[in-house]
């Protein structure tokens, strides 16, 4: 008891934050890849200082946030604010889809792996992607859209751009510049923001929510993500070299690359595979089929285990560009505009065995 009282008295004392110390920075062996902020985006989080706010003041800030943006709720499995007063979704006219038109993409979260069985008994490997509270923030028409990074590319000619935000967040953390990006949109400030290059036909007004009904079961999809950062790796792990033998008098050449070039050339070719920083780069997996959709939690089951990133990381989902996996029926343009509550909770592909169906029996061929 005495000890606990002593600890209590220690805890009640005000914490001293004014201690300053000099930090000595040595020259590093290898520079860690820098986090680059793209030109079109401002810094998201502000530098948070300890303002020593009283509990009453903290309550007051919470009240202001709730007044402006609504209370905290869980909507389709994601924590958000119910920003009813802000969102005014305008009416959108449906348009006919032609082959080759590029629609808006979607920001999703990789949840994990999931097995599914087909009706012929084979098991397929899928990963689950959850679409996390997406809203359109801004549309930039093609005559105003001039990306500085890749202007000479033909790809961006006569194309507009849609800014999409995901996961609304407490605005106390954000910078003023970043908050300014959301000003006219009527959308609550979001944690993540991304832009999709889009045809003029597929334009979306700000405030429209993007749900999983944007996609359909049986269609194919491309998924872009950042690979796992593995740090400085040797040549065996990074490029799959064979290495040297373990025994038979070998010394110090078990995982080495061997010779780098021939004696005639007497220099090293450009692009020679060598040790270095591995991972932390963008990769796109193309042509993944959608097997199942859950409209209640905004999730979709996509084939394959090898989508880039760890579970819990963000990925970006587009329609495929592969020519042989284009959809046979026209896609909903610009998004799905029907009544979403009328959709069933689980939508399966035709060849998938549902879990509440009776077990499989193979009937003999006649």
């Amino acid at each position: 008891m005495l000890l606990s009282r002593a600890f209590k008295s220690l805890l009640n004392q005000p914490v001293i934050n004014d201690i300053r110390y000099t930090q000595v920075c040595f020259h590093r062996f290898r520079s860690v890849p820098k986090l680059r902020i793209p030109e079109w985006r401002f810094r998201v989080e502000r530098k948070i200082k300890d303002d020593n706010l009283t509990s009453e003041n903290q309550k007051f800030i919470k009240e202001v946030v709730e007044r402006d943006f609504g209370k905290q709720v869980i909507h389709k499995g994601v924590e958000t604010y119910e920003s009813k007063t802000l969102l005014k979704v305008p009416e959108i006219e449906p348009k006919t889809w032609k082959k080759g038109t590029i629609r808006c993409g979607v920001i999703a979260k990789k949840l994990g792996h999931y097995p599914l069985w087909k009706k012929d008994g084979t098991r397929i490997c899928t990963t689950v992607l959850q679409i996390v509270d997406n809203h359109v923030i801004k549309y930039i028409p093609p005559n105003e859209f001039e990306p500085k990074e890749r202007r000479p590319l033909k790809k961006y000619d006569r194309k507009g751009c849609i800014l999409v935000g995901a996961e609304s967040v407490d605005p106390n953390i954000l910078t003023a510049n970043y908050m300014g990006m959301f000003k006219g949109s009527g959308v609550m400030p979001t944690k993540h923001i991304f832009r999709f290059v889009v045809d003029d036909v597929a334009a979306l007004p700000p405030g429209t929510p993007l749900n999983v009904s944007h996609f359909r079961v049986g269609d194919h999809v491309d998924v872009r993500g950042k690979t796992v950062h593995r740090g400085f790796q040797g040549v065996v792990k990074r490029w799959g070299f064979k290495g040297g033998p373990a025994t038979h008098g070998n010394t110090k050449t078990h995982r080495r690359p061997g010779s780098l070039s021939s004696g005639v050339k007497s220099r090293i070719w450009k692009g020679k595979k060598m040790p270095g920083d591995m991972g932390n780069s963008w990769r796109i997996l193309k042509g993944l089929k959608i097997w199942r959709i859950n409209t209640k939690t905004n999730t979709m089951w996509v084939s394959g285990y090898s989508i880039a990133g760890n579970p819990g990381d963000l990925v970006y989902v587009y329609d495929t560009i592969l020519p042989l996996r284009q959809p046979k029926e026209p896609l909903p343009l610009p998004t799905f505009l029907g009544d979403e509550s009328a959709l069933p909770e689980d939508i399966y592909e035709d060849s998938i065995h549902k879990f509440n169906e009776p077990s499989i029996i193979y009937e003999p061929e006649k």
Binding site: S4, G112, P115, D120, V128, N356, E357, S359, Y362, P364
Partner: protein, 300 residues
């Protein structure tokens, strides 16, 4: 704190089925003062025994314990799908060491069914990935088959003999004498009284001479005879060298393997009502099936 740790070790040693322990007696909440603790005891109720015992009966409903790979939304969907599958077939309670009969539809013999009888050697993984292995010796040939528990091709799972063994995994039966894993294919089911404890079979197995599949002497097995007579001097020395008797006192190691008590009670209270309904439906179906068979018609 010290008192609590002592208690944990005592309870651990008494548990027989330690593979799915997944049950920590330490609370995940931060330590409280004595006065505050007594107050909280009044507020919070202890989880019921029926809930906490479900971890042995339905171990696959607990998610895998690595916190980096977990997601609450995905787990909830997976639990719902598992219960949906359970409405179609009766997945009974069984343990490592109990004898099962499994019938499955085979794509290579269409219009027929395939059945296999054997001891359950191991149960692995969780969720829809959960699987188990059966072993039997047929015509002097050892056979092991691995099945997914939630495979839709499975038609029926029957428990012929419900019992536990001294160990978590019986993989050592591969190197034991074949008489320990031979089971009659036409065996009839032994029915246990409801509500009683599940019997523990304490047979001690004799091993074949070398070569072995694994280094069994290092695994601390209880259901195997003294292995020293098989070992030479070098292997005895290596056994002592690689032994780590302090592992069972490592609380952090146990924490990473297991799921907290509070979380378990949440999971099982979510599925408790529905799973009991499903079990009752299967019981009624079985009763109805028995009645029709037991009334032969008198002729003349």
């Amino acid at each position: 704190m010290l008192r609590k740790i002592c208690k944990v070790n005592l309870i651990q040693n008494n548990l027989i089925n330690s593979q799915y322990v997944i049950f920590r007696h330490l609370s995940a909440k931060a330590e409280l003062n004595e006065a505050a603790e007594s107050q909280e005891k009044k507020k919070t109720k202890k989880p019921k025994k029926a809930l906490t015992d479900m971890r042995f009966k339905y171990p696959e409903f607990l998610p895998q314990p690595d916190n980096r790979l977990r997601n609450p939304v995905l787990e909830r969907i997976m639990r719902k799908d598992m219960l949906d599958r359970r409405t179609q077939i009766n997945i009974p309670e069984f343990y490592v060491g109990s004898i099962l009969k499994l019938t499955i539809s085979d794509p290579h013999s269409q219009g027929k069914t395939n059945s296999f009888v054997g001891i359950c050697i191991q149960r692995d993984r969780t969720g829809l990935y959960s699987k188990f292995a059966l072993r039997n010796v047929i015509d002097h040939q050892g056979i092991e088959v691995m099945y997914d528990l939630y495979d839709p091709a499975i038609l029926k799972i029957e428990v012929l003999k419900l019992e536990k063994r001294l160990d978590d995994k019986l993989i050592y039966l591969k190197d034991a004498l074949p008489e320990y894993s031979t089971i009659d294919v036409n065996m009839e089911p032994e029915i246990l009284a409801e509500g009683g404890n599940i019997p523990v079979n304490d047979t001690v197995v004799k091993m074949k001479p070398f070569p072995w599949m694994q280094k069994w002497e290092r695994q601390g097995l209880k259901g195997v005879e003294d292995l020293d007579k098989h070992l030479n001097l070098w292997r005895k020395q290596q056994k002592v060298k690689h032994d780590s008797p302090w592992d069972k006192y490592d609380l952090m190691k146990e924490y990473r393997k297991t799921i907290t008590e509070e979380e378990q009670s949440e999971i099982f209270s979510e599925i408790f009502n529905r799973i009991n309904k499903i079990n009752e439906q299967h019981k009624q179906k079985a009763k109805a099936a028995r009645r029709t068979i037991s009334k032969p018609q008198n002729i003349g």
